[in-house]
Every structure is written in C-alpha cells, then in structure tokens.
Symmetry: C2
Subunit: 189 residues, 2 copies
DNA sequence: ATTTTTATTGATTGACGAGTCAATAAAAAA
DNA sequence: TTTTTTATTGACTCGTCAATCAATAAAAAT
C-alpha cells in the first residue's frame, strides 16, 4: 500500500526520531533499528533512504543547525541596535528549540563526533564560522577587539550548553550570565 | 614468567593506553583489544584486572581528574592573594598536562559518557563541585556575587576546552581570555 | 494490460567485539 | 616438595548490529 512521495516524510521522521533516540540514550550509541522503530518503519527502509547510519546522523545535525539558523535570523531581523543584535545572537543559542534537552544532548554528541568524522567537522565549522562572524559584526561598533570578545562569548555559549547537557543546576538564566559578563567590555555609547 | 606485583603496573599501562587510544580515535569507540595491545598485553589480562571496559574508562577518568587536582594544588599552594588564587585555578585548567590533545579529547568524551553512566556522572560532579567551590572561595574577597562569576568562569573553561578539542584555531591564550573577561568584575582593591 | 517505478519489510549475512575459560608457568607459602 | 597464589594468553562463545536482498504490493507510465 505504498503512497507516493513518502521520501521527505520518512526522512523527516527518521531525523526527529534520531535526535530523540540520541537524547534518550545520551550518546550516538543508538541502533538504526531503534531509530527506525521510533519513526514507525523498518530499519531496511531507513537504509533505503539514507544509505547508512552516518548519513542519518549528519541529516540530524543539519536539522539542528538549521533550527538554530532560523532562531538567529528571526531575532536578528527585528534587532535595530548593535546591542540588540548581540542579545539576539545569545538569545537564539538558548531559544526553546535549541535548548531542548534532547537537542542539547544530540548537539554535544555531534560535537564529539566531529572529532572522528570529516563531514561532521565540516558542518560544525560552518556553524562556528557563522556564529563568530555574526558576533564580530554585532560587536564591531561596541568594542576595540571584537574578535577576542566574540571568542569569549562563543566559548561561554558552548560551556553553558555543556552544563545544561549534564543537567547541572543552572543558577541563572544563561543569557543573563553571558550578557552580564560581556557588558563591562562594551563601549557605553 | 610472571613477576609478582604486576597489578599496579598493568593498571597504569592500561589507563594511559586507554587515554591515548581514545585521543587517537576521538571517541570512546575503542576496543579493549586495541587498548590492551597498546599497553602491551592481551585483552584477557585487561579484563582480568579491570573486569570490564567501563571500569577502564572510569579509571582513566579518575587519572585525568587526579592530574588536574595536582596542577591545582601545586599552584594554589604558592598563591598568596585572592587574585593569585583565581589565576592559579584558571591556569591549572590549561596546564600542559591537562591541555594535551589526547587528554582534552578523552575529557570531552568522558563528559558525554557521564550522560549515560551514573559512575562517570558522579566523578564529574566531584570535579565540578571542587572547581566551583575553589573558584567561589577565591572570588569571595573580590566580588559581591562570587557564585555567578564562578559559574561564568567555569563555563568559559569548558567552552575553551571544547574549542581546543576540535582543534579550532586558538586566537589567544585561553587563560588571558578568561582573566580579561573577568577582570572588570573584580573589586579594584 | 504490461511494464516500470516507488515503497516496504522479514529474513539473512557477515563482521566485530566484550567477556569467559581452560591451560600454562612461575613465584611464594606450606 | 607439594600446594596455593599470581600472572598470562589463545581460543572460544555469544550477542549485537549494520547493511543487503529477495520478495510483495501498489501506483504510474507505456
């Protein structure tokens, strides 16, 4: 009873199932069968559409990265001042869709995966470069050394992500933490 | 030709081999055979001394944590002012022995492992609590809100570790980055 | 109407790897 | 000197899992 045009539906189902499964397991040690089962199909079909497990992971990673990009753009588009743009970037990183426990866990695992997968590394570099250049751009009117500031902020974002991933008790809103740390370094104009 | 008293020697060899192997693979996806081979013994012997793979990982993690503790204490013992103690804590995190690529990679992988292993999580919490309380202690004379500052600094340490783990081009000395970020928040006495 | 294309799965293969075990050997204790 | 304890390994078992494949079925194209 095959309906046509299933490919995009199946792909999306597999991607979200993969993220959920990775989140539940807390690692990439997840079987294609488990992912497929959660997505409501046989593992053979998952292989049919994705070829192999790594491609599923990569697609999941792309999905998360794309979700982040959406959060960034939607906030950036309504920001007027440089300070607004900075806030927008930090807030996007901790937006609900990015800061969901499942997503955080998957994100962290992809970070590690990048160590042993050139494809994953490439994807990550794209994200890193984009975030960095966005930060520098927002910081340029606010600082003499936008690069150094941007690197520190990016590190804090990643660091707070890790803590969240570990379920560490978050003392405060991470956004507030980062902005408070950054504030004294900005020109007061 | 068994010489007696091999146990501690074998254990240490396995632990360092495990860290090396994890560093080389960039993941915990490492076989006991590979670890044992690198350590110069059969996999059966590794099982004999450690019981199972997880215990090897845990021991490796403990080894890294202990190495970090040594760096901390050696620096803390010669620090006189509060500012010195703060620098000591940050510098210890990036000491040669802690900032070795192999160690960074292993460290990051243990971080992820903690997600799915209660034992690993316990170890990590010990480290986190210790670092946090050390930081707060050093910051108390320097700030009204030592907790918030400590959390930010801890996050930056982790974040810069991640970037190092990914081999991201490090623009500056991470220690300098953190201290520069922190400086404006400290009492100027 | 038959052929092709798309969707789908159960069953199978093949590899790999953790953990066990029996066997061997040498030191130490009895 | 016999026995026990410690060290050590090669061979084996058992499970798991990624990936393949043959088979089935329905839509679309011819």
């Amino acid at each position: 009873m095959p309906k046509l045009g299933m490919e995009p539906i199946r792909r999306k189902a597999l991607v979200t199932a993969a993220i959920a499964e990775i989140g539940a397991a807390g690692s990439l040690d997840v079987t294609v069968s488990a992912i497929s089962k959660r997505a409501g199909m046989s593992s053979a079909l998952a292989h049919h559409y994705f070829g192999n497990k790594d491609q599923i992971f990569l697609a999941a990673m792309r999905h998360i990265l794309a979700g982040f990009a959406v959060e960034v753009h939607s906030r950036l588009s309504v920001a007027t001042t440089a300070r607004d743009r900075l806030s927008a970037l930090v807030e996007a990183s901790f937006a609900r869709s990015c800061f969901d426990p499942e997503v955080i866990s998957a994100w962290l695992n992809f970070y590690v995966k990048a160590h042993s997968s050139a494809d994953a590394m490439r994807l990550l570099r794209v994200y890193q470069r984009r975030l960095r250049s966005n930060l520098i751009c927002a910081l340029r009117p606010l600082s003499q050394h936008p690069e150094a500031l941007a690197d520190g902020i990016a590190a804090m974002i990643d660091g707070l992500y890790i803590r969240a991933a570990l379920g560490a008790p978050i003392s405060q809103d991470p956004v507030a933490t980062i902005l408070a740390f950054t504030a004294p370094h900005l020109k007061d104009t």
